[in-house]
């Protein structure tokens, strides 16, 4: 349904407000929430994106964000509440995840949910701290409990079943998280993933950093998606201030975003090859990724392209030498890349391991709202670059790469397709100068932005406050919902296939935990 038609429909029943051209804010009554949400999803074909809480001086506002993927707009349903969140568990499978987060950080209770366990706050946390509340002072530290109660995992306890705990400190050079497998014979029957070991409190920090320096915090939420997070921040500020950047700057930004995609996906597919035990392509893929990293260092002075996108423009000058370096490297890496892809595609032992392994059905993927490559491997036709085009994507992103079966091999193929696409996009670059602006935020403005990071859809909400700072920043990171996809992918697989499935998802712990 188009934006205008949607507004006409809403006019008859609801109080609404339109902001920033593509955001419709609908105010609801607490009692009608479940009916309206299920109506919106079934009747108007909107997709659930996130649910979060904002504290006002007279209570809490719960925001339920829905989006129209075809025409690119958001519908935000909001209701005010004193002490409880209405559980949407009956309509949206993953809703309890969002609700548990709200409860942990804001001291509300969930009304009508089956899962009331803590999510963010592990057992070690002192009782009764709610770090996103306004009365929680900045720089205050949370202390640990002396006696730590036990956490009950969901386990299958029957004859012949056994439990395998893995983590939080893993065997490789990866981030921390706990996996609890229930295994009967060789097959995995259940997997529970426990995360939030890295919870540092980014949302609280963001409120207390001035707008000029905030891009530095954004890019340190997830190191591998530094550029995408930075881009999200730049787009948000530009949306609030109503500025448009030059076409040249847009081209450079697009290319930086695609470079990031290239090195991440090269690392991912290298990881898949390692876990299969096919080391030659793995080493070569990571060698190519190293070359891209060195190219990034040449253009921006940082191997992860940090601090190169700023609100109002870009923070690096693209000189003719840098230009030719980009084109040369991309060309040589591209040639080499195709040869190695052929090598893997012609290897029977490799295909035998990856084909029909770790399958997530389309039905389950829809239910879990998987996004990014993981979602597209399971036939979810959604790419933020296509639905909410930013920078140059409106012109150049004409199609979405989709696969049907949803296994490791499909994710492998999609990542390769994305790399090829990124190579094609990087031939348009031009000479561009540095440009930076001073940020002066107006008070009490709101905005949403979506960006396609390497992991999937990132949604950021901001509300501006006093003194050039933000009052509330909320991140719905792609990994937050995608992690649960892994628990379905491994069901029925053997334990040695778990690393393979994990690597094909390759979700970020850091952005999930924040």
């Amino acid at each position: 349904m188009r934006f205008n038609e949607m507004i006409k429909e809403l006019e008859q029943e609801f109080v609404y407000e339109v902001k920033n051209t593509n955001e419709i804010y609908v105010t609801l009554d607490k009692s009608s929430v479940i009916d309206v949400v299920s109506d919106m999803i079934s009747k108007y074909k909107l997709h659930f994106v996130a649910q979060f809480c904002v504290e006002n001086h007279d209570g809490f506002t719960i925001n339920i964000v829905l989006s129209n993927r075809r025409n690119g707009y958001y519908v935000i349903l909001r209701y005010t509440t004193g002490n409880e969140v209405i559980s949407l568990e009956s309509i949206i499978h993953q809703a309890s995840l969002f609700e548990r987060e709200i409860v942990d950080l804001f001291r509300l209770s969930i009304h009508g949910s089956s899962d009331n366990r803590n999510l963010v706050k592990h057992e070690i946390w002192q009782a009764n701290v709610y770090p996103l509340r306004k009365n929680f002072k900045f720089k205050e530290k949370v202390s640990a409990k002396y006696e730590i109660p036990e956490y009950r995992f969901k386990e299958i306890r029957v004859d012949g079943a056994h439990q395998i705990p893995v983590g939080p400190v893993h065997a490789g050079i990866i981030e921390p998280g706990h996996f609890r497998f229930s295994v009967i014979g060789e097959d995995i029957k259940n997997l529970e993933i426990r995360l939030m070991y890295k919870h540092r409190g980014v949302e609280n920090l963001c409120k207390n950093v001035i707008a000029e320096n905030l891009n530095l915090v954004f890019e340190r939420i997830a190191g591998e998606s530094s550029v995408a997070y930075n881009e999200a921040y730049a787009l948000l500020v530009e949306k609030i201030l109503g500025i448009e950047v030059t076409r040249e700057a847009k081209i450079v930004r697009t290319i930086l975003l695609e470079l990031e995609r290239i090195y991440n996906f090269l690392d991912d597919i290298a990881g898949i090859c390692v876990d299969v035990g096919y080391s030659y392509p793995a080493k070569k893929y990571s060698y190519l990724s190293e070359q891209i990293h060195q190219l990034c260092e040449k253009i921006s002075g940082n191997r992860l392209l940090r601090n190169s996108i700023v609100p109002g423009g870009i923070n690096i000058a693209i000189t003719p030498e840098k230009l030719s370096a980009i084109l040369e490297t991309i060309k040589s890496v591209n040639n080499r890349f195709e040869g190695i892809v052929d090598m893997t595609m012609n290897s029977v032992p490799f295909l035998d391991r990856v084909e029909i392994t770790g399958v997530v059905d389309n039905e389950i993927a829809e239910k879990l709202i998987l996004t990014g490559v993981v979602g597209r491997a399971s036939r979810i036709r959604y790419d933020v670059r296509h639905s909410f085009p930013y920078e140059m994507y409106g012109e150049i992103k004409k199609s979405i790469n989709v696969e049907t079966i949803g296994g490791v091999f499909e994710r492998y193929k999609l990542k390769i397709a994305e790399i090829r696409e990124a190579f094609n996009l990087s031939s348009q670059i031009k000479h561009v100068n540095k440009r930076k602006i001073n940020i002066n935020l107006p008070e009490n403005k709101e905005a949403f932005i979506s960006v396609e990071t390497v992991k999937g859809e990132l949604l950021v909400y901001v509300r501006t406050g006093k003194d050039n700072k933000f009052d509330r920043i909320y991140f719905k990171t792609p990994s937050f919902t995608n992690w649960n996809g892994l628990t379905y992918a491994v069901l029925g697989e053997i334990v040695p296939d778990f690393p393979l499935c994990n690597k094909s998802f390759n979700m970020s712990y850091s952005e999930n935990d924040r």
């Binding site: 070690i124 050079i173 190293e290 090598m343």
Partner: protein, 234 residues
Amino acid sequence: MGILKDRIKYGSETIKDPIYFNKFSYGRIEVDENKCTLCKKCIDMCPINAISVMDKKIFIDNKGCIFCGNCLSTCEYGALVNTHDYKMAEFGQLGEESREKIYKKFNRSLVLRSVDTGSCNACMLELSATTNNFYAISRYGITFAASPRHADGIVVTGPVPLNIKDALLRTYYAMPEPRLVIAVGACAYDGGIFKDKYAVERLDKILPVDLYIPGCPPSPQAIIYGVLKLMQRI
């Protein structure tokens, strides 16, 4: 067969000396005292307060610096210079002492265990990049073990959030003695950009740190240099 052909066609894709001078890298930021007028604009600009005045001179704490480069572009007098020198690794409290111990006990090799506490994953990316065949850190006898029982030291990245503290301590005490702690990145020194957050502690308040490798994230070259310095190989 494909592998053989590829190997013959492209030869060995590595580098003889990984710690070469890299003119594109970010590195130690130095103050030119002749040009500096002590206007202190860079101090206001620094997002993590790594710049201070000491004895009427601008002092930059490299270990805490996140190398965002904002101070470089703020300085009107061009007094701050990026030297591209990534060789910034420094010993911690017990550094010199453990250096001797390492030389006696482990002699030529070092087995490390990586523990990510609260990093943004950038340090982990660079740490795993040291093992790719361009840098190939294993040529120096440095390898990453899967279990702390097999390790001589841990590499910690990131500040220490409350939720992971217990796991970090258990990993540390699972290692046989003498055991080393290497802190990689600005966050592992004082929390970096995350230092004011509610659930974060400094690493050096929890464990004795032997070596700091500054950077945000430190490049693979910086990491290799740091570890070699600790092993008395440089």
